[in-house]
Symmetry: D3
Amino acid sequence: MSAVKAAKQPVIYLTRIESFDSAHRLHSRQLDDKTNRDTFGKCNTIHGHNYRVELTVKGTADPVTGILCNNYVLKQIMSDTILKPFDHKFIDEDVSYFKDENHSSTVENIVFFIWKAVSERLPINVRLHQIKLYSTEKNVVTFSGEFE
Amino acid sequence: MSAVKAAKQPVIYLTRIESFDSAHRLHSRQLDDKTNRDTFGKCNTIHGHNYRVELTVKGTADPVTGILCNNYVLKQIMSDTILKPFDHKFIDEDVSYFKDENHSSTVENIVFFIWKAVSERLPINVRLHQIKLYSTEKNVVTFSGEFE
Amino acid sequence: MSAVKAAKQPVIYLTRIESFDSAHRLHSRQLDDKTNRDTFGKCNTIHGHNYRVELTVKGTADPVTGILCNNYVLKQIMSDTILKPFDHKFIDEDVSYFKDENHSSTVENIVFFIWKAVSERLPINVRLHQIKLYSTEKNVVTFSGEFE
Amino acid sequence: MSAVKAAKQPVIYLTRIESFDSAHRLHSRQLDDKTNRDTFGKCNTIHGHNYRVELTVKGTADPVTGILCNNYVLKQIMSDTILKPFDHKFIDEDVSYFKDENHSSTVENIVFFIWKAVSERLPINVRLHQIKLYSTEKNVVTFSGEFE
Amino acid sequence: MSAVKAAKQPVIYLTRIESFDSAHRLHSRQLDDKTNRDTFGKCNTIHGHNYRVELTVKGTADPVTGILCNNYVLKQIMSDTILKPFDHKFIDEDVSYFKDENHSSTVENIVFFIWKAVSERLPINVRLHQIKLYSTEKNVVTFSGEFE
Amino acid sequence: MSAVKAAKQPVIYLTRIESFDSAHRLHSRQLDDKTNRDTFGKCNTIHGHNYRVELTVKGTADPVTGILCNNYVLKQIMSDTILKPFDHKFIDEDVSYFKDENHSSTVENIVFFIWKAVSERLPINVRLHQIKLYSTEKNVVTFSGEFE
């Protein structure tokens, strides 16, 4: 890099969308059975979803190639950190984070789990921006790394 | 009805679309575990889907009202025969047809089960024409009452 | 045409999809107000839809060009016979067939009206096969020219 | 709450999607008829839409249940504040805000009306973040509580 | 098979959906340049599509497994016969049927080419029923093996 | 404008969605052929897409009409700046920015090109907020005018 300051580059957000099919039930081990049923209603029984996940990273494109991040890189990361643990699995039994720790398999908890898993795998030039998780076509959660 | 032959009426097909969220696994009790895994692959483990079902009936519209069948009639029938047994359920455990009889919970078997359940409930002026069942956006089965 | 019998050609079905936005209410002038409310429920009040129409024609492709029917031909026909009378209109007031004759603006009656209008406009080498009309994403009627 | 500061919690955005079918026309009582026609074009006549509304709230999930807000709570609020006034209605005649005050039924004005109605009904632990309103698949407005 | 006639089995239609991205132009070598431009309009220039293909086979499910055809079998056939020749290709240059023989790359000709390629690869217990090919969300052709 | 400060107005975001069909290949003239193939994989060959573009502008609605920007204004701008240069074109050959300057036709570069073209055409009361560009249903880039 020369001492001359480089021109500013446009910041691009790149989103890749995948889906996975899982079974789960909403049930908190910190609550008794009746409270679980009252809190989670019909979601307290075992059922399933075709989840849809939209992963967005941000950064500046390489000036030579014009790309921010190769699709096959994002695809591999999503395969390893999302599809492998969740696709065609029973989340409450097959994913240690939900089975062995005190986390119910709500979309809120799943999206936070995915955020942590993906953020450890990204290439150095891209930053994780947002993860959207659809449990149905009408219900979506979004996490963007904010805490309060 | 008078002795005068009524004019022919247009035959209308009416489709209503609903969806339900279920868990299942593909597993035949007539096969050993290894054959089940070889046959069904990753579908042999418990997972789930947002199923989408498209129910089509046919008939002629009432000349006065101009409708073939009220939407709330079809909605109630689909609620009773499809959503009630399958929505937020584990198909292999919660539906007797799959738990107690020798039927694996394939889309082929589910669509045939739904056909039989719906056909017993339709109003007299409409005939069941077709049922389409999506397990994912890319996989669909259709049954139209044909046998061979 | 020479005396030599031409080779048989594949029969192609070509579908073009358009949409239009209309207001309507379900109300039959052959019924009193109370019966209308009981029959049509909330659809008895003025409301509206983004209708989606799928028009399918059939025929054999021209051997030289490889096309059955130019898209702009179908587009023009659908514009004249469907979009012009229905788009951004109040069906019960603005379309004579529904205003002046005894037809309630049900999807069953609308799809039949469109069938007649389109069938008079098609080029000689294509035949009208089917019209599907969605009033919402979950409610569809289909007419294929059958009578009984 | 003890004096020890609690660990920060992830901020989750939860979106629920509903739809409703309404009639309307774009017409400002502050303008004469010709100016209305020139301004609003074909939208100056009565027509209708299947509107789609995406409501997004934000907050932190309950540590025990892992949920931010029960789906049936959001569903009830959207039913009371959006579906009840607008679904199967003629907006310009049936909703007082548009009939009796000087507001044309543009998506801009509808989304602002919905924002105010929803914000008075939310549970104390969730904040209204954004409302998106689709009049067609190709036209969307978004309001996030900003003023300038 | 014993001499006792087996009970009739339900006939199931199984559809799998894939997509591929190709470049093409509509141009017939049997026509001069001006006629090509007049016939095909803006489609006479090189452009591209995300094609969507829906392949439907029919047959009866295996009584033991309850499946008609394993998804990975259909997936492999579609990969070999559709994705491999067309995905990320320039159809008019990269597919011999369109480059070397007198076939313009219309959807009518592509769907017929795919029909022939797929029909030679299907397992013995399933029959090819229908292929739908979308060039855009609004334009679809369907071929079901009919000739006339 | 009087000296009395006007009440603050709600800030509305208006999105319009269009699509166009183009051919392209990913290829950087700053790289040799082998590096191009290694970098871009199958995208280094000529193929095509139905691109989908979502253009979002922001501003405050006119108090009299209740609209931020007429749909036909946005439609005309998108037609002139996006559809005209890209629809039914071979991007690498037909658009000077990609043919004559050193820009590969990545979605990152295309979205930035569109941003510049649109921003010069907007009416004075609306500001460009965001452009989303889908090359497939699963791959999206977004640019919001940020640089770093």
